[in-house]
């Protein structure tokens, strides 16, 4: 329908003479605590060691050797606790923050005795079995990738062990608590004593 031009003019004038707008009453949303994330691997206040003792009879026969932690902290015998607590607030594009846990094993295992001087073993000779797969979440859904799966180190600087989006609430929380039992794959290798460090990093974004 073609409206006559005079109609638009009159409507526009009507808008001009309508009462002026005034400020709304703003009910201010409360401030919430900032996001937080904590990660515990092994003891709370120390760097734990996991020792793999390979006897001469076992050396290189392919039978995995269970590691013995300096401070057993997990729920299983010889296990290491990995605990992650997230208090995540939904920001950004409608999704709560994502939590990623990575391991850096790029340094390898360096020989520390004279018999193997100069040798560096890759960390992919060490794996783990993961227990206690029950991530508790304050959000509405828990992903199947919420727990650390059993596996082994890949020798990279950022091996992804976990990637998890903590529910769908604007104020989500999640607690991961897995116990890892490490083992040495025990392939044919030179004798000696080797030592290396793996660093775990959790990021929430």
């Amino acid at each position: 329908m073609n409206r006559p031009p005079s109609l638009w003019l009159i409507l526009w004038l009507a808008w001009l003479v309508s009462p002026a707008s005034h400020a709304d009453i703003i009910l201010t949303g409360p401030t919430v605590q900032p996001n937080s994330l904590s990660l515990q691997v092994g003891s709370l206040s120390a760097i734990d060691r996991v020792r793999f003792d390979v006897s001469s009879g076992q050396a290189g026969n392919g039978t995995p050797i269970i590691g013995v932690p300096s401070a057993p902290t997990g729920s299983q015998l010889n296990s290491v606790l990995v605990r992650l607590v997230s208090n995540a607030y939904g920001t950004g594009a409608g999704l709560p923050p994502q939590i990623t846990l990575t391991a850096d094993s790029s340094g390898g295992l360096t020989c520390i005795t004279t018999g193997c001087a100069g040798q560096v073993l890759p960390f992919n000779l060490i794996g783990w079995t993961s227990y206690d797969h029950t991530l508790s979440s304050g959000g509405s859904s828990a992903s199947t990738t919420a727990d650390i799966a059993s596996g082994r180190f890949d020798g990279s600087a950022s091996q992804r062990l976990l990637s998890y989006r903590s529910g769908s609430s604007a104020m989500s929380s999640a607690t991961l608590s897995n116990s890892l039992v490490f083992h040495y794959l025990n392939p044919p290798r030179l004798a000696g004593t080797y030592q290396g460090r793996v660093t775990f990093t959790a990021v929430q974004f």
Partner: protein, 171 residues
Amino acid sequence: MPPRHTPLTSPLLICLWLSTTIGQARAFERLDDSASPRQHIAAVQALDENGRPLASSLGARQALIHYGRIEVRLNTAPYLGRRARIYGVLPPMLPGVLTPTALRLSWRGGRLFDSGQLRPDEPALVWAGIVTTPVMSDSLDLRVLLDLQQVQLQQGQLPNAALRFEIEVLP
């Protein structure tokens, strides 16, 4: 055979339609509430769905925010002697509120205004009658219920709610 319109009938039809359109456009007018003592209201208390303080609640799904009793003063001078209805209104889109069902504002009226509740873009009746005073003033006890699974934080804050009042003048 149907009668044919003569050229004189067309202007008459247009004017009637125009009159109706303007009448609808003026049915709801925003009320001047600038005389209200406070324009920005901070929360008095914020709890989760279990009655625990929201600030220390992990994984809360709902937030019940209490703003206390605030005084509202509406300039009704232009409508003296007119029969009218006054509505509380939230805009259809509030930053951080993903769906209209995520937020519900409720209030308890005082000596003048009715109690009620509303959601974004769902006006709720606050008062009805003949306007007899140039300023209508009352206190409202305000609460906001937020579904935390349908909101986003705005720079570390839960979303604001912008309340305004509109008047419908009745014939």
